[in-house]
């Protein structure tokens, strides 16, 4: 530019920077300042970072892709299927009756169970748990098994991946306390009558 635009450079009065001659657009003028050094370095650093990134991830592939990251994360967590391995003998279990366990059970109930069985256990999507009928058995042990393994084809999912053995026992114990209560709008009985 200095070659073809022969006029002497004007100077900006306030900063003393050179104004480019011939650069005037609706009275907007332009200064001949260089790119700020820090800006140039910022640009260079991001470019170098990018080249290194692609090299590590996509050329020599030493940095982990997301599938490997997931495997590493699962391995680090030591994830094996948590919870129970086999159904328990229903007869061998006794419901918890202490208040602390029942309160803990109720807390789980409010978060996970009432979505289908409603708050009082009167049933909506899932069956009524307050009447004297049951689809999957009436004893405390039956309830523990149903929660643990579910009955997916009927819509009850298995909770063994979301609740510990201890939590399942507590919520099952809470369920046992619902029997015989009379919440409003109960769902019609389903399953077999309990003895």
């Amino acid at each position: 530019m200095e070659i073809n635009e022969h006029k002497a450079f004007d100077k900006d009065e306030l900063t003393g920077d050179k104004l480019l001659s011939g650069h005037e657009y609706d009275n907007i003028r332009e200064l001949d300042n260089n790119l700020p050094k820090w800006w140039v370095w910022l640009f260079i650093i991001t470019i170098v970072w990018s080249v290194v990134y692609i090299f590590l991830f996509d050329v020599i592939k030493v940095a982990p892709y997301q599938q490997q990251e997931w495997k590493n994360e699962m391995a680090a967590a030591g994830v094996v299927a948590p919870g129970q391995s086999a159904p328990v003998d229903p007869a061998s279990l006794v419901a918890l009756t202490d208040q602390a366990s029942l309160d803990a059970g109720k807390e789980i109930w409010m978060k996970q169970c009432k979505v289908c069985h409603l708050e009082g256990g009167q049933g909506l999507v899932g069956p009524n748990l307050t009447d004297n009928f049951s689809i999957h058995g009436c004893t405390y042990g039956d309830v523990v098994n149903t929660i643990t393994f579910g009955a997916p084809e009927k819509g009850m999912i298995s909770w063994k991946t979301q609740l510990t053995d201890d939590q399942i026992k507590k919520v099952a114990s809470f369920v046992m306390t619902l029997k015989g209560t009379t919440p409003p709008n109960p769902k019609a009985p389903q399953g077999e009558p309990c003895k």
Binding site: T46, Y65, G155
Partner: protein, 719 residues
């Protein structure tokens, strides 16, 4: 040379300015309604037209294309004439641009409310309106390039470079992303499916941010900031370098919206690095703007126009640093699907676009009305209330995002998700959502003050529709580069060549990313068990699209332990091959749904649950923020479209057997009867031809095919 006298068209500027204000208020009020629905879901009033899924596109499209779009036209029509020392090329084209654009906006608002949508974010318009958009956009470009060609100045100024880049890139993006095969006047299927659709869509979506919300506004900044400050541009060299770097690099960055998704890893890597390389080119605009103010900072304290500009440019600098950070996998793992993205978008929209738009309006309205701004005090009040509004809007969302992401990822010592119920992580955010609504409300109060101030300014002034100006005609110079003339300086006086070079610069990145996804088969490994949707499921899917379910629910499980534990198998490219359009979503106001139909999965719910939940979500969860979709239960499914839909899908390569279109409704009714019978066994009476049945069928299909493949996730390798 002899001076020629000519007239600037101020009337078109005035029209666009009024439209900007009008649509600005509408777009933001709809935004406030959305914000309030997070706190009171009943604010959908129980009718389809005001549900979140339908009005969220009205909000985003109104703010982007109506408010910012009209604001952009206002500033371009004002500055282009003055920078070219010429009236607009053709008054009729100007008028078509104006009225055509308003017509598009009205069509958009109506069709979205009626559920007519393509289900692709920020590109929800159906095909007839898409064609109208393309036509009006070409009219705008024709008018602009025509004006530039008949200019009376030798070179084109940097603002015009940005306008040109805006025009060519938006044209390419809009046309490519909107390619679809119509099923009827109001329904089409995109030609792309699944991963390909996702990549094209976010190449478009990201660059709509780049070339609709960024480049035109950088152009406006380059005109209005030095004019308002009466200072020369800090560095012409910086203008050149950051302009070309910005438009070349921006186009590559789209895949950063799809990190940890089923998009091939190499494309994700490109999305990461090109986003990081964008920091400096973006900041180039901020630096050139702020350093132009050297020597004028005392006036920034006084002049509302400069004040709005400084905050706008600063907000631009903040979001263009934040954006690349969110594009790194480390941050994205936390920010994606949360309100972080929403906060980020609003720093840009409210801060950069909103404040710059008002700076432009406060600058030019007094000038075309030959008066002064009515009240500096009210403008200052607007400034402070709106700034406070942005802070109240964004801070709670960032806080909420980190809170929610942490809750999603937290495990108990026993190895279980600490918050297995997704809803808990939403309920936790309610105070943040309330504060956000207050912030948005404050911003609207600011806008109302601004409009009041401008109305009083207009009343006090006298409009000058034809503004006389004079300049010598453009002297003929050789087309060839003169001796000692820099290449770029030459290009600046050859606007057509400039436009072609800009077009080439923006085509490279898109082609390199998109083409291999079609040509290289290994990018999308097929999964044998993935089959086309049944006719009933296809109809259900179209209802899912119509209701905008993707605005709150993702269909993309990321490969994190916390997500495979919560939802099941992580997303695979091969499972989406029949999804026209893809429905991966970008924000989880509710849980991911892509494993909803896996019977042994932890997200599974029986048909009766879905029925009850659609009817009244709060009956099942008082805290739920999902609105009721009770009309699905009473409205009949439109069976007349089934055959046509199947034929269009076959045309797009979905392998339905020959002649299947003729028996598709039989198949549909058979499947529907099965679901209706199952509901009946649960005491629910509903006819098999109601929409709810199709919706349930679709939800129960989600994830089934991938699960049927029985692929142990651990054997799926990325390399």
């Amino acid at each position: 040379m002899e001076n020629q006298t000519f007239y600037y068209d101020n009337k078109i500027v005035k029209n666009f300015a009024y439209a900007t204000l009008f649509w600005g208020v509408i777009g933001m009020v709809v935004g406030l309604l959305l914000a309030l629905q997070f706190i009171w879901p009943a604010l959908t009033f129980g009718i389809p037209y005001t549900t979140f899924g339908r009005i969220r596109p009205i909000h985003t499209n109104a703010v982007i294309f109506a408010f910012v779009g009209n604001g952009m036209f206002t500033g371009i029509y004002y500055s282009l004439q003055r920078l070219c020392k010429a009236r607009m090329f053709n008054d009729l084209l100007s008028k078509i641009n104006f009225w055509g654009w308003q017509l598009i906006i009205v069509c958009a608002a109506l069709t979205f409310a009626f559920g007519i949508t393509t289900g692709k974010e920020y590109a929800e318009l159906e095909w007839p309106i898409d064609i109208l958009v393309a036509v009006i956009w070409i009219v705008f470009g024709w008018n602009m390039i025509g004006t530039i060609i008949k200019r009376r100045t030798g070179h084109i100024y940097v603002a015009i470079w940005f306008y040109i880049a805006t025009f060519v890139t938006i044209a390419v993006l809009h046309v490519t992303n909107s390619l679809a095969i119509p099923v009827g006047l109001f329904k089409s299927y995109p030609i792309y499916a699944g991963v390909q659709d996702a990549l094209v869509q976010w190449w478009y979506g990201h660059n709509a941010v780049a070339f609709f919300l960024t480049t035109p506004f950088l152009g406006l900044m380059y005109y209005f900031l030095p004019k308002a400050a009466n200072r020369p541009i800090f560095s012409y060299k910086l203008s050149i370098v950051h302009f070309w770097a910005l438009i070349f690099l921006y186009i590559w960055a789209g895949p950063h919206h799809l990190l940890y998704s089923a998009l091939p890893n190499w494309a994700q890597s490109l999305g990461v690095v090109f986003s990081v390389m964008l920091i400096a080119p973006s900041w180039g605009g901020m630096v050139n703007g702020l350093l132009t103010l050297r020597g004028a900072w005392d006036r920034v304290r006084e002049d509302p126009v400069l004040k709005f500009m400084v905050v706008a440019v600063t907000a631009y600098g903040m979001s263009t640093f934040e954006g690349p950070m969110m594009s790194t996998k480390t941050v994205n793992a936390i920010s994606h699907f949360t309100d972080w993205t929403v906060g980020h978008a609003h720093i840009g929209a409210l801060g950069w676009n909103g404040f710059l738009t008002f700076a432009v309006l406060y600058y030019l309205i007094p000038r075309i009305f030959q008066t002064h701004l009515f009240s500096r005090k009210i403008a200052n009040l607007h400034f402070w209330i709106a700034t406070l509004g942005i802070i109240f809007y964004a801070v709670p969302l960032y806080w909420g995002a980190i809170t929610q992401a942490s809750m999603w990822k937290e495990f108990t010592a026993a190895g279980f998700l600490k918050y297995p119920n997704f809803l808990e992580t939403v309920t936790q955010l309610k105070p943040m959502y309330a504060t956000r609504a207050i912030g948005g409300g404050l911003y609207i109060v600011g806008i109302v003050l601004g409009i009041y101030n401008l109305i009083l300014t207009i009343k006090a002034g006298k409009f000058l529709p034809e503004e006389a100006a004079s300049a010598p005609a453009l002297a003929k110079i050789a087309g060839k580069r003169g001796s000692g003339e820099g290449v770029h300086r030459w290009l600046e006086r050859r606007p057509v060549q400039f436009t072609i070079v800009a077009l080439v610069a923006i085509l490279i990145g898109g082609l390199i990313e998109i083409v291999p996804l079609y040509l290289v088969k290994t990018n999308i490994p097929t999964i044998a068990s993935v089959k086309p949707y049944t006719p009933l499921e296809l109809q259900g899917r179209d209802i899912y699209v119509r209701e905008g379910c993707y605005t709150c629910h993702s269909q993309q499980v990321r490969p994190f332990r916390s997500e495979t534990e919560r939802y099941g198998e992580y997303a695979k490219a091969g499972e989406y091959v029949y999804d026209h359009p893809f429905q991966w979503g970008s924000k989880r106001n509710g849980p991911d749904l892509s494993r909803e139909g896996v019977v042994s999965g932890r997200q599974y719910k029986p048909n009766s649950w879905h029925f009850n939940h659609m009817l009244n979500p709060q009956r099942l969860n008082e805290q739920s923020i999902m609105p009721s979709y009770k009309w699905l239960i009473t409205d009949d499914l439109d069976l007349s479209t089934t055959a046509k839909k199947i034929r269009v899908m076959q045309f797009l390569g979905v392998p339905y057997p020959d002649g299947f279109d003729k028996i598709a409704n039989d198949d549909l009714l058979l499947q529907a009867k099965g679901i209706a019978d199952d509901l009946k066994s649960q005491g629910i009476q509903v006819e098999p031809t109601k929409e709810i049945i199709a919706m349930i069928a679709y939800l129960q299909r989600l994830g089934k095919d991938v699960h049927a493949a029985g692929m142990p996730t651990a054997t799926i390798t990325g390399k």
